[in-house]
């Protein structure tokens, strides 16, 4: 009875038989039409399998990576939301004990501290004259520093000059607070808070 080496046919087809077995199988194939037929069928099947097309996934399957800007953007928007919320709260606190300032009316601070109000007015003057004073001090300013007994106004100016930059920033912040209505701070806080929440959700979705 002839032995048909069926199990070796696929390995022969793929060139994975050891040399000796390969030679023996080739010798057998020359004399066995049945195995030659099997080999032709296996070759055809392997060819059909090789022709199967790739399938496309419905979505990207790559590991998701957070965009580099996302984390700092979320922190920045959160910080902005918190800052605007604080400004809104501060505006409310300022508005409660005093009547809301109207255009042309003196600033609330002026009622309590005339010297400070003078300083504010003076700071305004200085702002208008800004660059000029920085380059060459006006005679008025020189006189203030040189005078033996400064007037209240001059005292305010001197105090402002001594506190220098920090005072100017505080003044500017104070004026900004007065000029911007409270609801605008609230609006800014809500907007930046919304952005922060949106970015947070995006990060969670990408990490899921």
């Amino acid at each position: 009875m002839t032995h048909h080496p069926d199990l070796q046919l696929s390995a022969y087809l793929d060139g994975s038989l050891p040399a000796e077995e390969n030679r023996a199988l080739e010798a057998h194939l020359q004399t066995c039409p049945e195995c030659t037929g099997h080999l032709a069928e296996l070759r055809a099947v392997a060819g059909l399998l090789a022709r199967l097309p790739d399938r496309a996934p419905r979505r990207s399957l790559l590991p998701r990576r957070l965009p580099a800007w996302l984390v700092p953007a979320r922190w920045a928007s959160s910080l902005a939301a918190a800052s605007f919320a604080v400004l809104f709260a501060a505006s409310l606190v300022r508005a409660v004990p005093f009547a809301a300032p109207t255009s042309g009316a003196p600033a609330p601070g002026a009622e309590l501290a005339p010297a400070a109000a003078t300083a504010t007015v003076d700071a305004k003057d200085r702002t208008e004259q800004g660059a000029l004073q920085a380059v060459s001090p006006t005679p008025q300013a020189t006189g203030v520093f040189a005078g033996p007994s400064p007037t209240p106004r001059a005292t305010g100016v001197a105090r402002r000059e001594m506190t220098d930059g920090a005072g100017s920033v505080a003044d500017r912040a104070e004026r900004t607070m007065e000029s911007v209505p409270a609801w605008l701070w609230l609006l800014a806080a809500l907007a930046s808070g919304g952005v922060a929440i949106g970015l947070h959700r995006t990060m969670r979705r990408l990490r899921a």
């Binding site: 049945e34 060819g47 059909l48 199967l52 790739d54 496309a56 996934p57 399957l61 790559l62």
Partner: protein, 188 residues
């Protein structure tokens, strides 16, 4: 990630097709590929050169086979209709290779029949056949990917191809007759 992403993108479709044919379910295949790529990305520091394709297919194939084993453990109906023993019976049907119905299945219909035939191949044989005939791995690579001996790989590939052949023959296919058919190593 810079080197990983282009490689992962290059093999994404092949991996998905492999998982689809192994698992027989698109959603499961997507999840399996995503898991495999994530595992590969996290373990990229442990990748010591060699073939990235072989490495990532190894992760995916093992993942899919694990899923199939889990499903089989919990299923009431066997997922692999013909077992290895049944494969031997199919092998014994060599003599019966002249079908009664002379239906020539051509073009896409023939490839669709091949896809159907693949679903009848037991999972481990199917993995070996897919890795060999579709992904083009050699026997040694397949043995490494599937953690088996080369002898086992030879046997699985042969038996898997026989199951496909027998199904096609039942559907009226005869080697050499269908249009567009070509043998291994004959181009493309």
């Amino acid at each position: 990630m810079a080197a990983f992403e282009p490689l992962a993108r290059l093999y994404e479709r092949g991996l998905y097709s492999h998982a689809c044919r192994l698992l027989g379910d698109e959603s499961q295949a997507e999840d399996a590929v995503q898991d495999a790529l994530l595992l590969a990305y996290r373990g990229r520091a442990m990748f010591r050169g060699g073939s990235f394709k072989s490495w990532v297919f190894r992760i995916l194939t093992n993942r899919c086979l694990d899923l199939l084993r889990d499903a089989k453990r919990h299923a009431t109906v066997p997922l692999d209709p013909p077992s290895d023993e049944e494969g031997e019976e199919l092998e014994a049907q060599w003599a019966d290779r002249s079908p009664d119905v002379e239906t020539v299945v051509a073009g896409n219909a023939l490839l669709a029949a091949v896809e159907t035939a693949l679903t009848l191949v037991p999972a481990e044989q199917r993995a070996a056949v897919l890795l060999r005939d579709i992904q083009g791995f050699d026997y040694e690579e397949i043995a490494r990917i599937t953690n088996t001996e080369i002898g086992t790989v030879k046997s699985r590939i042969h038996r898997g191809r026989l199951v496909v052949r027998n199904y096609l023959v039942q559907k009226g296919w005869r080697a050499g007759n269908p249009p567009g058919e070509r043998g291994v190593g004959e181009g493309g």
